[in-house]
Symmetry: C2
Subunit: 252 residues, 2 copies
DNA sequence: AATTTGTATTGAGCTTGATCAAGTGTTTTT
DNA sequence: AAAAACACTTGATCAAGCTCAATACAAATT
């Protein structure tokens, strides 16, 4: 007996036009027809598990990737086993842009939890974008945005104190979760304290101490990876240098 | 009496195809015909003097700019009069890429000395690139390269010690001067110690002390802005963490 | 349930590089 | 030429945040 009411996974049409992330992602600003053309080159593969590499430094660039669920860190490994975490990525975000220059990845990417991605073969995308000005425009915008974000990070690492760094980090995630329809004040961080510290240019212990201190000061409640932000306004003042009572501000 | 042998400045045809910087700049990889098309949208204006702004944070994006002579710093000013230096630019380098995202500059740019630039109106460039795949490709590459460079800078600020930072800085300039046909070991730095420190996330005093120490150790000779690198190999080992004798290496 | 392994927290002490301060040298202005 | 403004250097002191070490807690394995 065949049951015609059972929803078969094969029948779920995964497509850009149905995707809730479309406004955050490459199709942003594309017409429905253009979106279909983009859709035709996108591949959806098996999900990655925690710790899996999406790609490694040195791999040839094959595809750009958009996270559709889960989260990813990108990082540059160093000879001695260490690494520099470059960024954490949430659904809707495009990764692999660094690899366009030499058709070769300059960083590695690892899934922080079970993660699904759309793959967009770069050569197809490039070809498509040269016959689709709106897609070319969107690519320029996304590449430019990445540059702007990196600049903010340079300021964070060059000028900000440890507490400013962590507050900035937390508010960044708050805003990004909010944009994706999740709570801005109650979320799980998928990365370890070690990875947070690495990303922010701080030792693990410093990150741990700051979480404790922020909690003591009533700014947030934290238990392991679960974070609840209790005082967004005060966190925001910390981000902007805590004008009021900073005895020692870093060199300006 | 008219002297037909006198070279009039009006008769010097400034054009991409004659430009010694073409291989470093946008025309890289373009056919002679495509180069002429690009050339037709490029504007060459009056030179900027030391301290002049090429553009300011918040200005609308009008043109991307390529330095043709002189040098430029880009930086994000902060309310309190401070700034974060984002990069120093030499001839052949393209600036303003951060502004594509929102058609608005996210940083300011100032001439460090007398500086000439080519201006490339972005809307013309974008239009041209959608009918010229090689130009589109070159734009993607340049944007991607910028992202890669920023990542290296994140590692520098996140992980490296003061001496590693300064050595990296010096070798970077060494290589860039070399690529432009100048000496890799004898050059003038157009920025102040303060600007170097700001860029590297260090206090002026630290930069000054490091120059003194590097000189004492025979790595270089420095007098004011004039730098002579005396031991490139040893500087290179410092860049890569000085494997040998580092008592305390920063968290990895 | 017990063991192992990995992750996070907390404390004590130390180091790097910042800050403060004074002085020297250079460039610009008068 | 003198004065003023600015850039750089050098020294003394201090603190933010790192390292080391021990412990606590959680998750995975037996």
């Amino acid at each position: 007996m065949t049951n015609r009411n059972v929803v078969s996974f094969e029948n779920i049409k995964v497509a850009c036009k149905n995707c809730s992330l479309a406004t955050l992602c490459l199709p942003m600003g594309l017409s429905p027809e253009d979106m279909e053309r983009l859709d035709s080159i996108v591949k959806r593969g098996r999900p990655f598990h925690r710790g899996d590499h999406l790609f490694r430094e040195g791999d040839n660039l094959h595809s750009l990737r958009v996270i559709t669920s889960g989260s990813v860190k990108t990082f540059t490994p160093s000879e001695d086993g260490g690494e520099q975490v470059l960024s954490f990525h949430l659904p809707g975000e495009l990764i692999g842009l660094d690899a366009i220059q030499n058709e070769c990845h300059t960083c590695s990417a690892k899934a922080l939890e079970t993660t699904a991605v759309c793959e967009i073969p770069f050569h197809n995308l490039e070809e498509l974008s040269s016959s689709m000005p709106s897609l070319q425009h969107q690519m320029y915008r996304l590449l430019s945005r990445e540059i702007g974000q990196d600049s903010e990070m340079l300021t964070l690492l060059g000028k900000k104190s440890a507490e400013e760094r962590l507050a900035t980090f937390l508010l960044s995630f708050s805003e990004r979760f909010k944009k994706r329809g999740f709570s801005a004040t109650d979320f799980f961080l998928s990365m370890s304290r070690h990875e947070i510290g690495n990303y922010l240019g701080l030792a693990v212990e410093t990150v741990s101490r700051l979480f404790t201190r922020f909690q003591e000061e009533g700014l947030l409640h934290v238990e392991r990876k679960h974070v609840q932000l209790l005082d967004l306004p005060r966190l925001a003042t910390i981000v902007h240098g805590n004008e009021n009572g900073r005895s020692h501000q870093r060199h300006v």
